[in-house]
């Protein structure tokens, strides 16, 4: 209730809107405008989390997405989110969060025992300790993960909705601080389409943490921000995206952003809105105004709760109206931290500045002294006490060499250390874009050097190493104007300069690690519990490359990706290796800049929208009649139609038998169909197919096989000559798009002189295939086409009407029976189907699905491309020598037949298999071996490609009947020379089945039924 550290006034919080929230089971109060971190500080909650490896108590450290310590589990149940940053969570009413990484509580965490044995757990500890025995690693890993780990993943399906959207702009400005606002203003005024993306709930950046002393354009900075935003909002082509972090920068200025749409409202408060939006932005020009991240100082016990970044302390004071400490030591090597000291002292805090620089001078120092702030120059903090929160620091003089400690240690009581080691420009996005960095010795920081041509961007302000406000504004205006011009807007001349308070800064004193006495923990990476001693050990053990060291010590890994630790670690490595900082190199920055939930990336693509489901026009009938579906590519096809309590086996036996006894019907609409027209169509087909096409008569159909140039089968189907220069091609269901692409590729890129046009017509035609002894009788009553076998022979097409609608009827067969494929425009598909089913009753019609389709064609030895072939099969391999023209000079794939491997003897060839046990159906994919007692190592002679129970085939044992007879097709090494051989099929469960090799045509070998 108390909010003991809340200031009585000030800040951008709304004191009229108190909110209550629960942290670790305890209820607290905050205000609208707070973050969880500012509200926790206001309530004097110092220990917020436990560290990753050593379980050391940790408190709030920063005020942004660079936070390495205050990582919490937000909410519970399905809505829970692990690893969220207290510094980035906007407070809402009834928010609930818990500390991570601790048990039983954050105040008393049993695993803090790790901290006691910290010296025994250096970098690489887990790798070295749990190496042996290897098989126990999985067990060790479980224990380690439980002890280390991060937050808990939700156990329930995500109740939230997300969306992913595309957007485009002329100029994308990343970051809404002074430089970004100036850039957006300059670009926006040209009329260019501008997106200003800012991660916070309101743009303004560090200006939101300023006092009114700071002036821009003659007024308080905060007023300038408001006015600028108002002007931008009035521009119709400018969009301001709040709560939007640019997470990735990819080729050709394609950037991804995560917009937190309703996170700040709390679970279930956003109505229909998505929780988060993943935005894919294509920008002509990019202005990066991403600011800078303050660099921690690496001193003894610097991870204790109450050690914070100086700029963060200032943010809490000025933006959130919270004073994080009443008795404060500001530890710095530069001027910027003095502003924190000044603001804190004015609000009644006791402040001492410990400055590593000898005799610091300048405006800000003078102002601090005028306020009575004690400044200890040439000084550093060498030790810190207070396990659960800073109680006292020890300060000592630092020698000129930057390492030697001089004089007597002086203790200072305090409850807060505000530190600043300088600034690191936020170059992450620039680096992701392929930009190279340069080490600036004067500024002591990495700054952008040059970006790749494909990603035109400009870095402005602090992320460009320009740290003064007038400079930031000037760079922003200039870059905004130039970016707009490069995108085709405006003259490129910057608008009139914006005046602003200048705060000249004296140089900093580089201070990468602070000496201490004895073995103290000096953390450079807080989130990963990585210390100076770990870097030293890594070096001792031979790690030189920054990439190796990073992985060995975990430096820069974790959810913050080293935002605060990378540069310090590089500098310490440079010292250890005796090299310059830029010589050590930098690690590669990779997306995302901040974590992105999978849900956001997935967007709408989930559940029924995960993948398209294609169905035919007859789908309503299939559903109403109890079809069991299977996926065939994108399609849902009926697999079988069970009656009563039938299982698949029973249904398929019945369907197979009925089709050969009376008439069966299958929905064949999914077959690919291509309309081919042009004077060179026949010539083209001669190249595409292996057999002859020139002489195919009008109105006749022919089966064809297509090969790749390697001579391997890649699709098959029936093509029909509708008129002299007009053909109708069918392809396999799965191969439809592939074949269409294949034809177009040859026509466009290899034979553009051929006069042929191809048009896909797959969905234009719905197809019912009826086959069986009564197929003709059924059709006879429904069409005006003369069905007499003389007038309408096998492998012919006729056009006419069917049940009152226009139709093309093909007399082709995939079952080996008399069969007709009736094609009607798809809008009539259901009508055709229902008519056939209704009239079929009198002919004992039986509807079947893909399973029966497969059995019936297997009985005839017809292959299914992609099931009985696998891209290594020539037509000869599958026993289809007859389909290969011996006369044609050329066709695609022909030349490969004489390559040594294609032409050799003993290739895998398609055969039939009879199991000795007629009731056992071999599993497809099972390996064929030549021994009844297989023991590894074992050479497989081939594998089963298709395997079914057939009610129509009589085996060598004479068995057939209602229960069926097992048949199989297989690719078998030298198969055709093994006819009649006994071989064995080894099953996964160790059983071995005996089989006899046979011809793959099991039924009606002479093909009499087809012609009947």
């Amino acid at each position: 209730m108390s909010q003991s550290r809340r200031l009585v006034k000030g800040g951008r919080i709304d004191r009229d809107k108190p909110l209550s929230f629960v942290f670790n089971g305890k209820t607290y109060q905050g205000y609208e405008g707070d973050t969880l971190a500012s509200a926790l500080i206001a309530n004097d909650v110092r220990v917020v989390a436990r560290s990753f490896k050593y379980h050391r108590p940790r408190g709030v450290f920063s005020a942004g997405s660079d936070e390495p310590n205050a990582i919490v589990q937000l909410e519970e149940g399905a809505a829970t989110q692990p690893d969220t940053l207290a510094t980035c969570i906007e407070l809402y009413d009834n928010l609930s969060a818990t500390s991570q990484n601790c048990w039983p509580s954050v105040e008393f965490d049993i695993n803090e025992i790790n901290s006691v044995f910290m010296r025994l757990m250096p970098a690489g500890f887990y790798y070295k300790t749990f190496m042996w025995p290897a098989k126990l690693w999985m067990w060790y890993e479980g224990i380690i993960r439980k002890a280390a780990g991060m937050g808990l993943a939700p156990k329930h399906p995500d109740p939230d909705r997300y969306e992913a959207i595309h957007t485009h702009c002329d100029v994308l400005v990343v970051g809404g601080g002074p430089a970004g606002l100036a850039a957006a203003l300059a670009a926006g005024r040209t009329g260019a389409r501008v997106i200003l993306a800012d991660a916070q709930c309101e743009p303004g950046g560090d200006l939101l943490a300023e006092t009114d002393e700071l002036e821009i354009a003659g007024e308080a900075a905060s007023n300038w921000v408001s006015k600028t935003l108002a002007e931008l909002r009035d521009m119709p082509e400018v969009r301001i995206l709040e709560r939007t972090t640019i997470t990735g920068y990819y080729d050709y200025n394609w950037l991804t952003a995560l917009q937190k749409v309703t996170d700040h409202m709390g679970p279930d408060k956003g109505g229909n809105l998505p929780r988060q939006r993943f935005i894919k932005i294509r920008a002509r020009q990019v202005v990066l105004a991403t600011g800078a991240i303050e660099r921690p100082l690496v001193f003894a016990e610097n991870d204790r709760p109450g050690v914070m970044m100086a700029s963060a302390v200032r943010t809490y004071i000025n933006r959130y109206g919270v004073l994080p400490g009443r008795s404060m030591v500001v530890f710095t090597n530069n001027d910027t931290a003095y502003q924190t000291a000044i603001d804190a002292v004015r609000l009644g805090a006791q402040v001492t500045v410990v400055d590593a620089r000898p005799a610091p001078q300048g405006d800000v120092v003078t102002r601090a002294e005028a306020l009575g702030i004690q400044i200890m120059d040439r000084s550093v903090i060498t030790n810190l006490h207070g396990r659960m929160g800073v109680k006292c620091v020890t300060v000592q003089h630092l020698g000129e060499d930057g390492t030697t400690l001089l004089g007597k240690p002086i203790p200072f009581s305090c409850d807060l250390v505000a530190m600043s080691g300088g600034w690191n420009p936020t170059v992450h996005l620039f680096s992701q874009s392929g930009g190279k960095l340069r080490w600036d010795d004067d500024k002591t920081m990495f700054v952008p050097l040059a970006g790749p041509a494909i990603n035109p961007s400009r870095s402005v302000g602090c992320c460009n190493g320009t740290m003064d406000l007038p400079g930031c504004l000037a760079e922003g205006l200039a870059a905004g104007s130039k970016a707009a011009k490069d995108a085709g807007f405006g003259t490129g001349r910057a608008p009139k300069a914006i005046k602003a308070t200048a705060r000249p800064e004296a140089p900093l004193r580089p201070l990468w690690e602070v000496s201490c006495h004895g073995h103290k923990s000096r953390f450079h990476d807080f989130q990963n519990d990585s210390k100076v001693s770990d870097l030293e050990l890594a070096s001792l053990e031979g790690m030189v490359s920054v990439e190796h060291t990073k992985r060995y010590t975990a430096t820069g890994m974790g959810t913050d990706q080293g935002k605060t630790s990378n540069v310090n670690a590089l500098a310490i490595m440079a010292r250890i290796q005796g090299r310059e900082i830029p010589a050590v190199g930098t690690t590669t920055f990779r997306p995302p800049y901040t974590p992105v939930s999978f849900g956001a990336i997935t967007g709408q693509d989930r559940r029924e929208l995960f993948e398209q489901v294609r169905t035919t026009a007859m789908q309503p009938w299939h559903v109403a009649n109890g079809a069991v579906f299977e996926d065939v590519g994108d399609w849902k096809r009926p697999r079988y139609f069970p009656q009563g309590s039938e299982d698949m086996h029973a249904a398929v036996l019945r369907e197979c038998k009925a089709t050969r006894d009376s008439v069966g019907i299958v929905d064949a609409s999914t077959l690919g169909k291509i309309d081919i027209q042009g004077p060179d169509a026949a010539k083209f087909l001669e190249m595409i197919y292996t057999n002859a096409w020139a002489k195919l008569g009008v109105g006749r159909c022919r089966y064809g096989v297509m090969l790749s140039e390697h001579g391997m089968i890649f699709d098959d189907g029936v093509t029909t000559r509708l008129s002299d220069n007009h053909y109708h091609m069918t392809t396999t269901t799965g191969g439809a798009a592939r074949v269409m692409g294949w034809l177009e590729e040859w026509l466009q890129t290899e034979w553009p002189e051929m006069e042929v046009y191809c048009t896909s017509v797959t969905e234009q035609w719905s197809v019912a295939s009826i086959s069986g002894p009564k197929a003709r009788d059924l059709l006879a009553g429904l069409t005006d086409i003369d069905l007499d076998p003389e007038a309408f022979p096998f492998m012919a097409v006729r056009e006419g009407s069917f049940a009152g609608v226009p139709a093309r009827i093909f007399r082709i067969s995939f079952t080996g029976e008399v069969a007709y494929e009736i094609n009607v425009p798809t809008c009539y598909g259901l009508h055709m189907w229902e008519t056939l089913m209704e009239h079929g009753k009198a002919h004992d019609i039986c509807v079947y699905g893909t399973e029966t389709l497969h059995v019936l064609r297997a009985e005839k030895g017809f292959i299914i491309v992609g099931q009985d072939t696998d891209g290594t099969c020539t037509p000869m391999d599958v026993g289809m020598d007859w389909i290969v023209s011996k006369k044609k000079a050329d066709f695609i794939g022909k030349r490969s037949f004489t390559r040594s491997d294609t032409a050799r003897e003993g290739r895998k060839q398609l055969v039939g298999l009879f199991t000795d046990d007629p009731s056992f159906v071999l599993p497809e994919g099972a390996h064929i071996v030549d021994t009844a007692t297989p023991k590894p190592p074992l050479r497989a002679l081939g594998h089963v490609t298709s395997s079914y129970m057939s009610p129509n085939v009589t085996g060598p044992d004479g068995v057939n009947g209602d229960k069926g007879r097992s048949i199989a097709m297989a690719l078998l090494q030298d198969g055709r020379n093994r006819m009649g051989d006994t071989l064995y099929v080894a099953l996964m469960d160790g059983r071995v089945k005996t089989v006899t090799v046979t011809d793959p045509v099991f039924f009606d070998k002479e093909g009499e039924r087809t012609h009947g």
């Binding site: 969306e163 956003g270 489901v613 294609r614 169905t615 049940a803 226009p806 425009p825």
Partner: protein, 197 residues
């Protein structure tokens, strides 16, 4: 023998059954049974262009990603699909005579005319925020500076290939393959639902 007299307009189904769906400021509807004809031919051949114009009553659009339209009783919309490919939308049923007229006009020329009325389905979208809805699945830049009324473009929406036509500021059509229509419809409706806060 059943009645085999051809009656083109009975017994038909469409994948969305003529659905109409208002969501917020947007209304989606299926434009049922539109005639659709695919034309292939040589755009450099004046005879072909003249023949097409004669049969259609309007010239084929030669500028990429544009349409030409004929208003009135014999209204057609002709879409540029590629340098040698166009698509004609015409009134329900008119495609049969139009197909014949095109075939007749093209006699002796190397062309292809194909009825694709059932290959595609057209969804109409009306509303002030349709371009925002389309951005939920389509990577095209639909800003009026780059995609004006009268423009068309082939692209994709989510996992479906589409032909998008901006008829007017707040009026678009999307053409999609018959078998992708339900998926596209569901995707549009669910996405629009998230916009209607």
């Amino acid at each position: 023998m059943v009645d085999t007299k051809v009656d083109f307009k009975t017994h038909r189904t469409s994948p969305l059954d003529g659905a109409v769906w208002p969501v917020g400021p947007i209304t989606l509807s299926e434009k049922k049974f539109l005639g659709k004809i695919n034309i292939r031919g040589n755009a450099d051949d004046a005879a072909f262009l003249a023949a097409a114009k004669k049969a259609l009553g309007v010239a084929l659009p030669l500028a990429a990603n544009t349409v030409s339209m004929r208003k009135g009783k014999k209204a057609v919309t002709v879409f540029w699909l590629g340098p040698d490919e166009w698509l004609v939308h015409s009134a329900d049923g008119s495609q049969i005579s139009l197909l014949k007229a095109l075939q007749t006009a093209f006699k002796g020329l190397h062309t292809a005319v194909t009825d694709v009325s059932d290959y595609f389905v057209v969804i109409e979208l009306h509303g002030s925020t349709v371009h925002d809805l389309l951005a939920r699945g389509c990577p095209l830049d639909l800003h009026p500076r780059t995609f004006k009324p009268g423009d068309c473009a082939q692209s994709y929406f989510a996992k479906a290939s589409i032909l998008l036509h901006r008829v007017d500021d707040d009026h678009y059509t999307i053409q999609v393959r018959w078998t992708f229509a339900q998926y596209l419809w569901d995707y549009l409706v669910q996405s629009a639902d998230m916009m209607a806060a």
